[in-house]
Structures are given as structure tokens and as C-alpha cells.
């Protein structure tokens, strides 16, 4: 499967490390950069998706991030991991995109409302995960809709940390570097996001235990 081949660096058939490919790409080897794209595309896409909320927008952001990374490849010195450097670029692009989307939605949907950014995130298009298990299908759909809606109403710092941690592609250390926040702060934000969600769900009448 192509998906399983390109998702994680360790499963790549190529023995070259990311740093080796970066050196080749810096020397002008476009195919080497293409291999880097293949290795990191899922992590980049999911980070963008955690920020902008729309798969179509996340795909566009991912493309922009890779193009920007290729242009700035000479500035990469190898002090950090290539993936972390790439995810930082991705996150900045995604934040810019989210601001423009929110501004557009604020003007188009509800020009007079202040809290439209959170609602805009909630209104974005979603694609159901193909990995949905049989157990997931029997869960109360109303609870799921409420949880999804409430995630959209979280403060952005809590929501970003929660969704990045939920991608399954990024470690807390990487999330810390992407967000520019200390590791303990990132963990607290994830925990706080969960606590706020559970509190709101309890207020809606759902049992905590």
C-alpha cells in the first residue's frame, strides 16, 4: 500500500535519512525533495487540518508548505529534525489561512458577530475517517455531534493542542516546537481542553462516568 509506505519515515524502503535527502535537494535534486514530500505528507496534512479544519484547505496549505520549504531549503542547517522544521512552516501557513478563512466567513456569514471564528471552524467541511471501526458506528451520533461542536468552541490555544495531539502523527515535543510553547504548557492545554469539554458535556446532560 502506498499509504503505509509513505506515512512514517521508518517504514520507507529507501535507506536514506531525511537529512541525506535534504542535502540532495539542496544540491538541486528535485526527486529527493519529492521523496521528502512523500515521507512527510501525512504529518503535514494533518497538522494543517488540525488548524484549518477543512481537508480541502489543509491540502492547499500542505502544498504551500512544501513549496515554501523547498524555496527555503538553503536556510535549513540540520540543527533540528527536518520534519519539525517542515511542520513549523506548515503551522505558520495554516495560521495565515485560518485567519483569512475566518475573516471571509465573518464577512460572508455573520458580519455582526464576534464569536464567528469558533463557529467558522465548526462549519467547515469534514470528511469522515475511513478508519472508523465497528464500535464507533454504534456510538450515539448526537453525542458525537455535540463533542465536535464543542471542540469548535474551545479557545484556539486549547483546541490546537488538543487536535495536534489527536492526529497521531506528532509527539508532544514536536507539538511544543510547532506551537512555540513549553512542553508542560502543551500537555496542560490538552488536559485543560478535555476538562472543559467534559464540563460542557456534563452541563448538556451527559453523564461523566
Amino acid at each position: 500500500m502506498a499509504q503505509s509506505r509513505d506515512c512514517v519515515t521508518g517504514t520507507e524502503p529507501s535507506a536514506a535519512t531525511d537529512l541525506d535527502l535534504v542535502r540532495l535537494a539542496q544540491a538541486g535534486d528535485v526527486e529527493a525533495f519529492g521523496e521528502l514530500v512523500e515521507r512527510n505528507r501525512r504529518a503535514v496534512f494533518r497538522a494543517a487540518l488540525a488548524c484549518v479544519g477543512s481537508p480541502a484547505e489543509a491540502d492547499d496549505v500542505a502544498q504551500e508548505a512544501f513549496v515554501t520549504a523547498y524555496r527555503k531549503l538553503d536556510t535549513f542547517r540540520g540543527e533540528a529534525q527536518f520534519r519539525t522544521w517542515l511542520l513549523s512552516i506548515t503551522w505558520r501557513k495554516a495560521i495565515d489561512r485560518r485567519k483569512s478563512i475566518s475573516r471571509w466567513l465573518r464577512l460572508a456569514v455573520s458580519p455582526g458577530r464576534e464569536d464567528s471564528e469558533e463557529e467558522a471552524f465548526d462549519q467547515m467541511e469534514r470528511i469522515p475517517s475511513p478508519q472508523r471501526s465497528q464500535e464507533d458506528t454504534v456510538v450515539d451520533d448526537e453525542l458525537q455531534r455535540n463533542v465536535t461542536r464543542l471542540i469548535g468552541t474551545l479557545p484556539k490555544k486549547l483546541r490546537d493542542a488538543l487536535l495536534l495531539a489527536g492526529t497521531g502523527e506528532h509527539t508532544y515535543e514536536q507539538i511544543s516546537q510547532i506551537l512555540g510553547a513549553p512542553l508542560g504548557t502543551v500537555k496542560w492545554r490538552v488536559s485543560e481542553a478535555r476538562r472543559v469539554l467534559k464540563k460542557k458535556l456534563t452541563a448538556l446532560g451527559y453523564a461523566y462516568e
Binding site: V30, V37, L49, Q63, V67, Q131, Q144, L197, K198
Partner: protein
């Protein structure tokens, strides 16, 4: 790489599981296929316009340099000798205080050097005279009267020169006159001490 072990499994309540599931559905999505191809095509497309833009900039720079060189070449040509043209002195108009005598005396400026007879477009450089003093020579002063009774005092060396054809007549501004305001006298009859009839 994956932190699923710290993400799921530690939260056992139904709400925790619901949160985990919602987050998974939101972000554990695979990218659309063909991302590598799209990225490489964008890189290729980004390279090609840059070459075209470079050529355009080169053409624009060349045209700019040619234009600057042309301007410099035309400016470095020697000018014709500068000739000074006498400037006409100003005219003074002093009207008389009464309408009958308000006849302005307009002193036209002396005739200047004849201008070019025909205005036709030519490619040759026409040396233009350099204007030195637009107010005329100090000796050609203008004396004007501002009091009534003075009809016109104009001294100018060029007073006797005839008015050239097509000259614009001078603007005549009558001076303000101060006349006393006459009001009719108010006559107040003297008061009498006689008591009114039928009084107290």
C-alpha cells in the same frame, strides 16, 4: 513518533472516549492522493515563470537605459546664446474722482522684439530667452496717485510708444470715495407745563 499510547487508553470514561473519537474523526484523515505530484508540479511551474519574468525585467531595464541615454544626449547639446529681452514696464491706471473725468490713461508697454511669426512644429531646438527681471528696470518706475483730483500721473520712458495691436486693455479699478453721511435733523418740540384738562 506516534503518541497514541499517551492519547488514547488513559481516558476510560464515556465522555473521554467520545472526545477521542471526535478528535480522531476530525484530524486522522489521510491526505488526498497525488500530493507529491502536485507539489512537484507547483515547483516546476514556479520555476518557469521566474525565467520569463527575468527576461521581461531585462527588456524593461534595457528600454529604461535607452530612454535615459536619449535624455542625457539631448540635454548635453549646447544651448544657443542667451539674449536678454527688455521687459515692459507696468502700466498705471489712475481714474479721476468724478465719472466725467474717469478716463483711464493706459500706458502700453514698449514694443518687444517681434516673436516668431508662425508657430509651426519643428524638430530644431529653439533657444528661448532667459527671463532676468520681470518687473522691469528700476529706472522705469511707476508712479501713481491715490488721491482725488489727480487725473493721471504716469511716468514711463515708453509712454509715447503706440499701443501694439491686439494688446489687452488695462484693468480699471475705480478708487473708493469717502462721502459724509447726512442725516436729517430731529426736531423735538419743547415740553409745556400746562396741566391736561380733566386732570386730578
Amino acid at each position: 513518533m506516534n503518541n497514541d499510547s499517551s492519547w488514547a487508553g488513559l481516558h476510560d470514561s464515556p465522555l473521554d472516549r467520545a472526545i477521542d473519537r471526535a478528535v480522531r474523526e476530525m484530524v486522522q484523515v489521510d491526505p488526498p492522493p497525488g500530493l507529491r505530484r502536485r507539489v512537484l508540479s507547483r515547483l516546476d511551474a514556479a520555476k518557469r515563470p521566474s525565467a520569463r519574468i527575468t527576461v521581461r525585467y531585462a527588456w524593461a531595464a534595457a528600454a529604461f537605459v535607452i530612454m535615459i541615454a536619449a535624455v542625457m544626449f539631448t540635454r548635453e547639446r549646447p544651448d544657443a546664446p542667451v539674449t536678454t529681452v527688455p521687459v515692459a514696464s507696468q502700466t498705471a491706471v489712475v481714474p479721476a474722482p468724478t465719472p466725467e473725468t474717469r478716463r483711464p490713461i493706459v500706458v502700453p508697454p514698449p514694443p518687444t522684439t517681434p516673436r516668431a511669426t508662425a508657430s509651426r512644429i519643428t524638430r530644431e531646438a529653439i533657444p528661448m530667452p532667459r527671463v532676468t527681471n520681470v518687473f522691469g528696470a528700476p529706472s522705469r518706475g511707476v508712479v501713481a496717485a491715490s488721491d482725488s483730483g489727480v487725473e493721471a500721473i504716469v511716468t514711463s520712458p515708453a509712454a509715447s510708444t503706440p499701443e501694439p495691436p491686439g494688446a489687452v486693455p488695462a484693468l480699471v479699478i475705480p478708487p473708493l470715495t469717502a462721502a459724509p453721511i447726512e442725516t436729517p435733523a430731529i426736531v423735538i418740540p419743547p415740553l409745556t407745563s400746562a396741566a391736561p384738562k380733566g386732570g386730578l
